[in-house]
Amino acid sequence: MYVRSFQYLAPKTVKEAVTLLNKLGGEAKVIAGGQSLVPLMKLRLATPSYLIDLNRVKGLDYIKDQKNRILIGALTRHAAIENSDLIKEHVPIMAEAASHIADPQVRNLGTIGGSLAHCDPAGDWGAVVIALNGEVKITGPRKDRVMKIDDFFIDTYQPNLKKGEILTEVRIPKPQPNSGGAYLKLERRAGDFATAGVAAQLTLDVDGVCRYAGIGLTALGPTSLRARKAEKTLLGRKVDDNSIEEAAEAAAEESKPTDDPLRGSAEYKRAMARVLTRRALKLALARATGGGA
């Protein structure tokens, strides 16, 4: 409950923040929503000597409509995404996913940037941004880097961030017409981290043939995962019970869950990858074709 002592730094700009982080190196941590970091600090599992607060940095908290993309500032709170009209209009799967993260109080502070940068395979945003084929912008002491979300997750708690770098923006391509998505999460109790979760996003052409398929998996591997084979199974095919079943099977195969004494065996989670993928795809299909809630 009582965290170890640290020095507090509150930069006003991204540049300042990056400079501080670069100078202080591994002894410093940035804090965004704090909803993952502070609990770890209270348990003394995280003991940074310096805390660089991003909350006073201007211009990191936004949801913008930019032509064929939605831009989301790293400091945007889960609740802001949950309630954003822009999000609901273009990428309703994000609003749906946000509503499954933690609980209302945590959503009022927790940020999408912090969640992705935390690289917790049980974090919900990873799978969703994967399904939407999003990118992240990284700002550091040198040039900005933009990378596909897939390249951002290196391993558990290991984001693709070099010394002094922070995640500053999440970029989501706007889905084409006839798209639909769904995020389904299996949890022990409300607000729990996922036992397993699946994000599915589909775009169909007029004949019901799949033009885009994005499938992301939560808590089913060392990081949030892309179910690549499952996506391939669907691309160019009519999305129906058969192809969905094949995709679900593929997603289960691709998942890399581990045994968890609290939430279930690897075998169980793998089976849930199949069930949730099937259900999420069916829901996404219904939504892409104008049905579904």
């Binding site: 020095q7 730094l9 909803q35 209270k42 502070l109 607000g191």
Partner: protein, 168 residues
């Protein structure tokens, strides 16, 4: 190393914070590691805000910060510098209970009372967001708070009653 030292000197061991708590401006010098919940309880003596876990799960520490409900154990006081905070002590006005407080009383929405301030503050925010919640919405809206005594039924009833009262 020298650079680091320099930074160390600019970053003080103690920091000043000021915020408005229940409309009253207050400030203090504290260690940066002071959690907001400890600041409220130990520095300001506002012990109505409780705490019950290390991991941000129980919600006993819920307060309103700049209009939003937050878990005051999951944020450092220094981060709330300049903020407006409402705690359970700030809800009743001129000795008049807030309708949510009344409703908790009338509907037996508390037993040991330890979780109660957190639930009331969360309900306060929830009803601002959604003045007409369904039972389901109330249950989800308070899912960041844990009560070990009541089984939730009367808390839910209290919040639904409060919603009605607040419309009048």
């Amino acid at each position: 190393m020298a650079r680091k030292k320099q930074l160390l000197e600019t970053a003080e061991t103690y920091v000043s914070v000021s915020m408005k708590v229940n409309g009253v401006p207050c400030s203090a010098k504290i260690e940066p590691r002071t959690l907001l919940v400890h600041f409220l309880r130990d520095v300001l003596g506002l012990t109505g805000t409780h705490w019950g876990c290390d991991t941000g799960n129980c919600g006993a520490c819920t307060v309103i910060m700049n209009g939003k409900s937050v878990k005051s154990c999951n944020i450092f006081a220094v981060q709330a510098d300049g903020a407006e905070i409402i705690t359970i002590e700030g809800l009743a006005k001129d000795g008049q209970l807030h309708p949510i407080q009344e409703a908790f009383w009338e509907n037996h929405g508390l037993q040991c009372g330890f979780c109660t301030p957190g639930f009331i503050m969360q309900a306060y925010w929830l009803l601002q967001q959604n003045p007409n919640p369904t039972e389901e919405e109330v249950r989800r809206g308070i899912s960041g708070n844990i009560c070990r005594c009541t089984g939730y039924q009367n808390i839910v009833k209290a919040i639904l009653t409060a919603a009605e009262k607040m419309k009048r």
